[in-house]
C-alpha cells in the first residue's frame, strides 16, 4: 500500500519544513497492489531520541494531539495539519519523521524538519556550521548573491527602511529574503538571532561570527568559511566591540522587558528603532555601526533577527497581528499619510522594482525570494503582508518562520 503525503500543499521534499503554526497537509491512498479501501490509519512521530517533534490537528483550529486517526480511501486526499511542538525544534534536516500506521504496520514515513529561528548563543555546532557555510556561500568571496543585500541597505535606501513606521515590516521582509536565499543553499538553515540584551559568548567566537582583534579586524578559525567573506572588493569584516562580548550584553541597550513595555500601541513600540535597535548597532565600532556599511557585517542579520523577534513577541503579547487594528500599526498609515513605502497598502522597495524619486535610484536584487513551503508574502510584498507572519489571522499569510521562544498565536 502506498500513501502520498503532502506537506504545505506539496509532495516535494523541499516543502517539508514546518514551524509552530499548523501547516496544511494531506494523505492520499494510492491505487495499486494491496490497496484496500477504506482503511483507518494513525499519524504519529517516529519515535526518536533527539531532534524535533510534531503535533497533529484534524483542522487548523482544533487542539493539537500527538497522534491523529484518518480514514483513507483510494485516490482521495484527506487533509490534516502538522506543526512543531512548541519548544521541540529540529536540530538537523529530516530529524522528524511523520509515520502513518495501519495497526502496528508502518505504511509510510515522511522526513521533515521543525525549522525555527533560534538564539544564536544556543545553536549546536552542526547548526552553527551549516549556517556559516551557507552564509559564506551566499557571499562567495564577495562575488555572490549577497552583493544585492549589501547594496540594498545603504544611505540611498535609508528612507525606505528607517525613521518611519515601515522600519519593522521592511526589515522583516529583508530578513526573510536573506533567509530564503540561505535556504536555497541549505534548506536546513534558519536565521539565528543575536539576543543583544544578554551576553552571547558562543556567538563571537572564531568558529561562528568571529572574534575581533585589538584593531577591530575579525578573526576566524581556519575551518570557518567566513574567513573568505568579502564586501566592496575587500576581504574581511571590521567590528570593534565597545563592550565585553563574552560577559556583557550590548552597550546601553534596553532589555527585552523594557522594550516590550514601551507601550501597547505600535506608535509607541516603534520607538525601539532608537533603543535597543540603534544602540545595539552602535555598541561596536566598525561597519555595523552606521547605515551605509552595516550590512557588510553578517552580524547585521542576526541583530535584526532579534529586532524582528522583539516585534513578534510584542505582537503576541498584545495581539497585534491583524492590520485592521489601529494599534497594530501607525494610525496614519491606513489613510496613506506616511511617506511612500510606510503605509499598509504600499509596496516595498526594492522588491517592487520601483526606482526614481521618491524611491531610490536603483532597486538591487529583484523580487522577494520565493519558498517551496510558504506562499506569502509574494514577490512584491506590501507593508501589510508582513504582520501575520504565523498565519494566525489568515493561514495564507504564513511566512514560514517562527522563533524558539514565541508560540503560535
Amino acid at each position: 500500500m502506498a500513501i502520498e503525503v503532502s506537506i504545505n500543499g506539496s509532495a516535494a521534499p523541499g516543502a517539508r519544513y514546518v514551524t509552530w503554526a499548523p501547516s496544511p497537509c494531506s494523505a492520499r491512498l494510492q491505487a495499486g497492489a494491496g490497496a484496500t479501501s477504506p482503511i483507518t490509519v494513525t499519524l504519529r512521530n517516529k519515535p526518536s531520541a533527539s531532534g524535533g517533534t510534531v503535533v497533529f490537528y484534524s483542522k487548523a483550529t482544533a487542539a493539537p494531539a500527538n497522534t491523529l486517526s484518518l480514514t483513507l480511501t483510494v485516490g482521495t486526499p484527506v487533509s490534516f495539519f502538522v506543526a512543531g511542538e512548541f519548544g521541540k525544534a529540529s536540530v538537523s534536516d529530516g530529524d522528524v519523521a511523520l509515520q502513518i500506521l495501519n495497526g502496528t504496520t508502518v505504511l509510510s514515513e515522511t522526513p521533515l524538519m521543525v525549522r525555527i529561528r533560534k538564539n544564536a548563543n544556543t545553536l549546536t555546532p552542526g547548526e552553527r556550521d551549516r549556517f556559516v557555510a551557507a552564509f559564506a556561500q551566499l557571499n562567495n568571496k564577495g562575488a555572490g548573491r549577497f552583493v544585492d543585500f549589501r547594496n540594498i541597505h545603504t544611505q540611498a535606501g535609508k528612507p525606505e527602511a528607517h525613521g518611519a513606521p515601515g522600519f519593522l515590516p521592511w526589515h522583516r521582509a529583508f530578513m526573510l529574503d536573506l533567509e530564503r536565499e540561505l535556504q536555497a543553499i541549505d534548506p536546513s538553515v534558519a536565521l539565528p538571532y543575536w539576543r543583544f540584551d544578554q551576553k552571547a559568548p558562543a556567538l563571537f567566537t572564531l568558529d561562528f561570527l568571529g572574534s575581533s582583534n585589538s584593531n577591530g579586524t575579525v578573526q576566524f578559525s581556519p575551518t570557518n568559511p567566513l574567513q573568505f567573506w568579502a564586501t566592496d572588493g575587500t576581504p574581511g569584516i571590521i567590528r570593534r566591540p565597545l563592550f565585553n562580548v563574552a560577559s556583557e550584553p550590548a552597550q546601553n541597550v534596553l532589555t527585552e522587558a523594557q522594550t516590550l513595555a514601551l507601550g501597547n500601541k505600535f506608535t509607541l513600540f516603534r520607538g525601539m528603532e532608537g533603543n535597543p535597535h540603534g544602540f545595539a548597532h552602535t555598541s561596536f565600532g566598525g561597519s555595523i555601526s552606521q547605515i551605509p556599511t552595516a550590512a557588510k557585517d553578517p552580524l547585521f542579520f542576526l541583530l535584526h533577527a532579534n529586532v524582528d523577534r522583539l516585534w513578534a513577541k510584542w505582537q503576541k503579547k498584545f495581539g497585534r497581528f491583524n492590520t485592521t487594528l489601529a494599534a497594530a500599526f501607525d494610525s496614519n498609515a491606513a489613510t496613506g499619510g506616511n511617506r511612500i513605502g510606510h503605509n499598509l497598502s504600499d509596496t516595498m522597495w526594492p522588491w517592487n522594482g520601483v526606482t526614481g524619486t521618491p524611491r531610490p535610484p536603483t532597486a538591487p536584487g529583484g523580487p522577494m525570494a520565493d519558498s517551496p513551503s510558504a506562499r506569502a508574502p509574494g514577490l512584491k510584498p506590501k507593508v501589510q503582508d508582513l504582520f501575520d507572519y504565523q498565519g494566525a489571522v489568515a493561514a495564507t499569510s504564513w511566512l514560514g518562520f517562527d522563533y524558539d521562544d514565541i508560540p503560535f498565536a
Binding site: 578559525s221 575551518t223 576581504p235 528603532e273 544602540f279 565600532g285
Partner: protein, 299 residues
C-alpha cells in the same frame, strides 16, 4: 623616505597625546567606555541612551550632545555615550539628515582629540561616511608618521572603507617594510581590492618563510582576485606534507566550500591525502575540515 624609516618614526614620534591614549586603551579602555565612571557619569549616560529618537527636533538638545562630544575635559565614557546617541539617531531619526552636517562638523573638529579612543571612533565614523577630510588626514599620517593620529594599521583599515588608488602606493610600501605585523596585514587587506596586486598575494602565499596568518590572508585576497589560482595553490598546500596545519586547514576549507564538485570527485590524489589527514596526527581543525571535505566529495 623609505618605509622602514617611516615605520620607526611612526612608533617613536607619535604625538604625546596619542601615546597617552594608547596606554589608556591597552589598559582596558573597553571596560572604561562600556559604562565605567562615577554615578553622575552613569546618570548622564542613561539620559543620553533615551534621547536618540528626537535629538534632531530639538536644537538645544542637539547642541548639548555635540558639545559633550567636543569637550575634551568631559569623562571619556560620557563622550563615547554622546557619540553613541548620535549614531543611534542616524539609524532611527526621521530627520537626521537635517542635523547630519552639524554632527559631521563636530566630528571633524575632534579628529586630533587627546583621547585615542575618541580619535579612533570619530575617524572611523567619518571614514564610513567617505569623508574626504578624514581620508586625507589618514593618508597624511601614513606618509608622515609624525603627523599620524592613529596607528598605521588602524589608518589602513579605515581607508579600506572607500578605496582610492592613492592609498595603494603607501600600502605596497608597508607590505615591503611594515612598521609592525598588524600594519602589514591591514595593508594587504586594502590591496586585496586591487586586481594588479594578485601576483603579490600569490608570491606571499608561496613563500613558506612568511607567517601563517600572512599567508592565510593572502589566500583570502587571492580567492577574491583570482579564484582559480587560489584553488590550484590550495590543492598544492593540502598535498604538501611540509606545510603547517593551520594553512592546510584554511586551504582545505577553501576547497571544500568553493571548489567544483566534479573536479573534486575525480581528484584521487587529493581524496587520498584528505583521507590520510582525517585519521592522521594533524590538528583537530584539520581533521574536522577533512571530514567535511570527504562528506561532501566522497565518490
Amino acid at each position: 623616505m623609505s618605509m622602514k624609516k617611516t615605520g620607526k618614526t611612526a612608533t617613536k614620534k607619535r604625538p604625546a597625546a596619542a601615546k597617552k591614549a594608547s596606554a589608556a586603551t591597552a589598559s582596558g579602555a573597553k571596560a572604561k567606555t562600556a559604562g565605567g565612571g562615577s554615578r553622575g557619569d552613569k546618570e548622564q549616560i542613561r539620559a543620553l541612551s533615551s534621547m536618540s529618537g528626537d535629538i534632531c527636533e530639538d536644537a538645544k538638545k542637539l547642541q548639548s550632545v555635540l558639545d559633550m562630544i567636543k569637550d575634551a575635559s568631559a569623562p571619556l565614557p560620557v563622550r563615547m555615550a554622546a557619540l553613541q546617541t548620535m549614531l543611534a539617531a542616524s539609524f532611527s531619526a526621521a530627520n537626521f539628515d537635517a542635523c547630519r552636517p552639524d554632527f559631521l562638523a563636530a566630528l571633524r573638529s575632534v579628529v586630533a582629540d587627546p583621547e585615542l579612543e575618541i580619535r579612533q571612533r570619530v575617524l572611523g565614523i567619518l571614514s564610513r561616511e567617505h569623508d574626504g577630510y578624514a581620508q586625507q588626514v589618514l593618508l597624511d599620517g601614513l606618509r608622515e608618521p609624525a603627523k599620524a593620529l592613529l596607528p598605521p594599521e588602524k589608518a589602513l583599515q579605515l581607508l579600506s572603507y572607500d578605496i582610492h588608488t592613492e592609498a595603494y602606493p603607501v600600502a605596497r610600501q608597508i607590505i615591503q617594510n611594515p612598521p609592525n605585523p598588524a600594519a602589514k596585514l591591514e595593508a594587504m587587506r586594502l590591496l586585496a581590492a586591487d586586481a594588479a596586486s594578485a601576483p603579490v598575494f600569490e608570491k606571499i602565499l608561496r613563500n613558506k618563510r612568511e607567517p601563517e596568518d600572512v599567508r592565510q590572508l593572502s589566500a583570502s585576497a587571492l580567492h577574491g582576485l583570482d579564484p582559480q589560482k587560489l584553488q590550484e595553490h590550495a590543492r598544492k598546500i593540502v598535498l604538501d606534507k611540509s606545510e603547517g596545519d593551520q594553512l592546510r586547514a584554511t586551504s582545505l576549507t577553501a576547497i571544500t566550500q568553493f571548489a567544483k564538485h566534479p573536479d573534486m570527485i575525480k581528484d584521487s590524489a587529493l581524496q587520498k591525502r584528505v583521507d590520510e589527514l582525517r585519521t592522521g596526527e594533524g590538528s583537530a581543525a584539520l581533521k574536522r575540515v577533512s571530514r567535511r571535505f570527504l562528506a561532501k566529495f566522497s565518490r
